[in-house]
């Protein structure tokens, strides 16, 4: 197992390198460098442009250097000093802006993942075991609907319903009195009373596809000969199902974390804009629209890194779960 972990960690290095290059390219993509955008904006507002400041910034980001030097400067600042550059929109270091929001985003994504699994597991097992029952059809239809509805639309509908029927605008993760309070039990409870709304909205599509994955895999597994063997031993049906086919079908289920996590993070971006959460979403979109590329690039880099780590964790979980992988690679 230790060998497996080390091998996977080594695999991560080229992936991370490639991600950082892609991110850097995205930062560089908008025509002109960000300083010219900055200067253009200053002059359009009629502010005086401080040429010395501009020169200093040019120096700081090495804008006069060849592109690979610029990349090296950028990535080494991040890796060695945790310096992600400055946001010209907020005129503050990116690092000051993002960590709080990232914490919430990660918490939200992980919570959503767990809730999705918790909901999808019993429904998926039920739908497969009781294939063609009324319940199966109902869940399948709801699942299709969940997959077809973009989660921001779900959020919009939710906002509309709560505004219309409960006369209040919902949103945020905290009640106003807790928003700026320090963390204490009350704040945690307040968070819990708010967080289920975004969790359910963000998790809808993911849960629907989890149910489909589990149901399809379990249906395949239920027809396998080893299930018949277990039946021929005289075991009760529910024990057979939980011990053998469900166990097998959970493998693909676990590896869904690899792609579910990125899509949850993506969904979070959209949903948090609609229901006004202080997570990465609104800031990322704001940064992208105003082409505040260091801010946006940092988000993309970190979110991508988190995804890779999530995939790694789900791979390891899978290896722990399935002895065949453990023995083949261990």
């Amino acid at each position: 197992m230790a060998k497996l972990v080390i091998r996977r960690l080594i695999y991560m290095v080229p992936t991370m390198f490639a991600i950082s290059v892609v991110t850097f390219l995205i930062i560089q993509l908008p025509p002109g460098d960000f300083l010219s955008t900055y200067i253009a904006e200053l002059s359009s507002r009629g502010d005086a442009v401080d040429t010395r400041l501009v020169e200093a910034l040019r120096e700081r980001y090495g804008l006069n250097d060849p592109i690979y030097v610029q990349y090296y400067q950028w990535i080494s600042h991040i890796v060695l000093q945790g310096d992600f550059g400055d946001s010209f929109l907020y005129r503050r270091p990116v690092a000051d802006l993002i960590w709080n929001r990232l914490g919430l985003t990660i918490a939200l994504a992980v919570a959503t993942l767990l809730v999705s699994w918790a909901i999808a597991f019993p429904i998926g097992v039920y739908s497969a075991v009781k294939q063609h029952s009324a319940g199966d059809y109902a869940f399948t239809f709801i699942g299709f609907l969940g997959l077809a509805t973009p989660n921001f639309l779900l959020a919009l509908i939710f906002v509309w319903i709560s505004f219309n029927y409960f006369g209040q605008s919902v949103g945020g993760l905290f009640s106003p009195e807790f928003a700026d309070a320090a963390w204490n039990l009350g704040k945690v409870l307040d968070l819990l009373s708010h967080v289920w709304v975004p969790v359910l909205i963000i998790g809808m599509a993911g849960t629907a596809s989890l149910i489909r994955v589990l149901r399809a895999n379990l249906l395949d597994e239920l027809r396998k000969p080893y299930v018949t063997t277990a039946r021929a031993k005289g075991l009760p049906e529910w024990r057979i199902i939980l011990k053998y086919p469900v166990r097998m079908a959970l493998g693909p289920f676990i590896s869904t974390a690899g792609w579910l996590l990125p899509s949850l993070i993506g969904g979070e971006v959209l949903v948090s804009i609609v229901i006004g959460l202080d997570t990465t979403g609104p800031l990322l979109v704001e940064a992208l629209i105003s082409q505040d590329m260091y801010l946006a690039g940092s988000f993309i880099l970190i979110l991508a890194t988190l995804t890779v780590i999530g995939t790694l964790l789900s791979d390891l979980l899978l290896a722990w779960w399935d002895p065949r992988i453990r023995y083949a690679e261990g």
Binding site: R223, K224, P225, Y226, T228, T229, A230, R231, A232, K233, G234, L235, P236, E237, K243, Y244, R247, M248, D322, P323, R324, Y327
Partner: protein
């Protein structure tokens, strides 16, 4: 081979083993199928996979069920344990199991066909009175549970023993089926085993509750020839030691000659001929049986002669021919009779039965065996005595 050798064994052994009820030549009947019908209700129509099968399996003896692919052998076997999956269902007939009574006690007779699949009663039969092993040793075991785990589970369903005790029993069983170093391998996973080893594990698992009947559904088909022979030897040895009955399903007449005490030939969901192995090999009656026998390669004799294969293909079971189901491929086809009348069973001896109009059954002229023998020349099993 071997039919000759078998004759000695078939004649001598059972009496010694079972010491069965007087009058019955091969021991007391353990399981008896009467008019068993298992149908699949598919979108395309009803598939009559098993359509009125009568069989009897005797204590301590081996019944081989033979037939081409798709003729309903596996479904028959599964029906006995109510293991047929939807859309299939046992629709008619009786499956009588004699429980207890082996030691001269009174015993009781249960009709398994009446039990609910998955219900408590049938579960108490599965694995305990009747155990089953399957064709695919690769997929018949769970690959993510250790061998020990799966065996301990099988032992503990029917026996009130602790985990340690069950584990010791599992190691002992693995040793019995010639698994080397059973104390260590009990903790490995099936994917670390070869196909032959897995089939041994399956056998060990099936024996864990001392079943009176072991159903083996083509247990050697997926294995190479050497392993095949080893597994068959193993089964014969275990049968000698434990005295269980075996229902052995195969489509290989060579294997039949090796294993069987009794033989049942199946075609399209019906038993067309059954009887003791020597009678079947020396004096096959049904044209289908003859055709099957002609398709065995014979060692040392007329080497360059081509093997005969049965002409045509098995008809679609959803769309079975009228009258005798074999008439579309039969060499002795009698127009106007075979395609009109379903042949009833004709008894040719105490344990011998055939379903063919050549031997009467529709009230028409029964030219009897002689005619048939000219139509399909007698195979010469004696000629296989070359080795």
């Amino acid at each position: 081979m071997r039919a000759g050798e078998r004759a000695a064994e078939a004649g001598g052994a059972p009496a010694a083993q079972a010491g069965g009820a007087p009058g019955a030549p091969g021991g007391e009947v353990l399981v008896e199928l009467r008019g068993l019908k298992t149908h699949f209700f598919t979108d395309e129509g009803t598939v009559r996979a098993v359509d009125g099968v009568d069989l009897e399996i005797r204590r301590g003896r081996t019944l081989c069920v033979v037939g081409e692919s798709g003729c309903g052998k596996s479904i028959t076997a599964r029906s006995i344990l109510q293991l047929v999956e939807a859309p299939g269902r046992v629709v008619d007939g009786r499956i009588l199991l004699r429980r207890g009574g082996a030691d001269g006690g009174p015993g009781e007779v249960v009709d398994l066909a009446g039990l609910k699949p998955g219900g408590k009663e049938i579960r108490s039969v599965r694995g305990k009175d009747i155990a089953m092993i399957f064709q695919e040793p690769m997929t018949s075991l769970s690959l993510v549970h250790t061998v020990g785990n799966q065996m301990v589970e099988a032992i503990r369903v029917h026996n009130d023993v602790g985990k340690r005790e069950a584990r010791e029993r599992a190691v002992e069983l693995l040793g019995m089926v010639n698994i080397p170093n059973p104390g260590r391998l009990v903790d490995s996973y099936p994917f670390q085993f070869s196909g032959g080893m897995r089939q041994r594990v399956m056998i060990a698992m099936a024996l864990s509750c001392d079943p009176g009947l072991l159903i083996a559904d083509e247990p050697t088909t997926a294995l190479d020839v050497t392993t095949q022979a080893q597994i068959m030897e193993l089964l014969k040895r275990l049968q000698r030691e434990l005295g269980m009955a075996i229902m052995f399903i195969t489509h290989d007449m060579g294997v039949v000659a090796e294993m069987a005490d009794d033989v049942a030939i199946m075609y399209l969901g019906k038993v067309v001929e059954k009887g003791p192995v020597d009678d079947i090999f020396h004096d096959p009656k049904h044209p289908y049986t003859r055709a099957l026998l002609e398709s065995i390669p014979k060692i040392g004799h007329r080497r360059r002669e081509r093997l005969r294969s049965i002409k045509g293909i098995v008809p679609d079971p959803a769309n079975r021919p009228a009258g005798c189901v074999f008439h579309t491929r039969c060499d002795a086809f009698m127009p106007g009779r075979c395609d009109a009348t379903v042949p009833p069973p004709v008894a040719l001896g105490p344990d011998r039965q055939v379903r063919c109009l050549l031997y009467g059954g529709d009230g028409g002229p029964a030219p009897g065996a002689p005619d048939a023998q000219t139509a399909a020349p007698e195979p010469t099993p004696e000629s296989s005595h070359g080795d």
